[in-house]
């Protein structure tokens, strides 16, 4: 298939979602959530609305479509296979990362009080912070280390795809800053490092390589 006859529907998220595990999202599939988003969340589905994991995934899908899709679609005309794979990975990661995961403790002086934040909500927070910088789409988020233990050293690892033409060092620095700020606001994690890997640069120049001279 050439850049001139790419099926525009081939990049729809619903067409990229085969094989994801419904158990990640309290019994719902990403495909189902995509349809629900398309319907404007009407009629109201109580099972989805009462599932925090599904709500986190809805947030991420909506943001991916609203803020990032255009950037990917533009390049996908030139290199559809590469970006289809990349988008499949992002959506698969959203599905996996939205499930609750481990419990991250928050301290409280009363011995009969237990406070915690799910790992899934923190991963969602990190993804939103990174996507919110404007020039990046977060690919994968991981918290490395035993987050269930207070004061345990934790490393945050994120991968990102960025627009062409940006200062990558400055963007990586900005990503670290916004992620550190969010984690400091919401958690008591002892974050010792935030590793940012820029895995892809989306560029119009890819398209020009196929254009006739």
């Amino acid at each position: 298939m050439t850049s001139d006859n790419v099926d525009p529907t081939s990049l729809d998220p619903e067409r990229l979602l085969d094989g994801l595990d419904p158990s990640d999202l309290d019994g719902h599939t990403i495909e189902e959530l995509g349809d629900y988003l398309d319907s404007g969340r009407q009629p109201r589905n109580a099972s989805i609305e009462n599932s925090a994991g599904s709500r986190i995934a809805l947030d991420s899908l909506a943001r991916l479509r609203r803020e990032s899709w255009a950037m990917l679609e533009e390049e996908s005309v030139a290199d559809p296979d590469r970006d289809r794979i990349w988008m499949q990975n992002v959506i698969a990661n959203i599905s996996r990362e939205s499930k609750a995961g481990r419990d991250i403790p928050i301290s409280h002086p009363h011995p009969a009080t237990t406070l915690k934040i799910t790992e899934g909500s923190v991963r969602g927070l990190i993804r939103a912070a990174g996507d919110g910088t404007g020039g990046a789409i977060i690919g994968k988020v991981a918290l490395d280390g035993d987050v269930t233990l207070p004061r345990e050293p934790i490393t945050v690892s994120v991968t990102a795809s960025v627009n062409y033409g940006q200062n990558l060092a400055a963007l990586a620095r900005l990503l670290r800053e916004v992620i550190a700020d969010e984690l400091s606001t919401h958690t008591e994690l002892n974050v010792t490092a935030i590793d940012v890997a820029i895995q892809d640069v989306h560029t119009k120049s890819t398209a020009t390589t196929k254009d006739p001279l």
């Binding site: 809805l58 609750a100 928050i106 009363h110 909500s121 606001t185 919401h186 958690t187 008591e188």
Partner: protein, 117 residues
């Protein structure tokens, strides 16, 4: 009338009023929540407003379990503390017991500027 259900409704209402709480999710695993929904549908009890889990262990200690979403602009850490302190203040006044109730509060979603609400 179910005392546990009534207390759950009251506590759900109290939690919903705490600053920073954006959502309250049914506590327990998805399977437990689904089962609870079925049981309550059969018994004609409306439980949409009873999302806080109330139970007691063998010694009679009351156990309260709450799962919340935190609204944009609020700290999850601070909201957790506010919810647990508000619940404890209410329970110690209104539901006297020989043992302090066990209160377990979890944040399972943190809204951001781009969240859909």
């Amino acid at each position: 009338m179910n005392d546990g259900l009534d207390l759950s409704r009251t506590l759900t209402s109290i939690v919903a009023a705490v600053e920073g709480v954006g959502d309250i999710y049914p506590s327990g695993s998805f399977a437990q929540a689904a089962t609870l929904t079925v049981v309550n549908a059969i018994s004609d009890e409306q439980t949409d407003d009873a999302k806080v889990a109330v139970s007691s262990d063998g010694s009679g200690q009351l156990k309260i379990t709450v799962t919340i979403g935190v609204a944009f602009g609020h700290s999850a850490r601070e909201t957790l503390k506010a919810v647990s302190d508000t619940l404890r203040a209410y329970l110690e006044t209104e539901v006297p017991a020989t043992q302090a109730p066990s209160i377990d509060v979890k944040v399972s979603r943190i809204e951001t500027e781009s969240s859909i609400v």
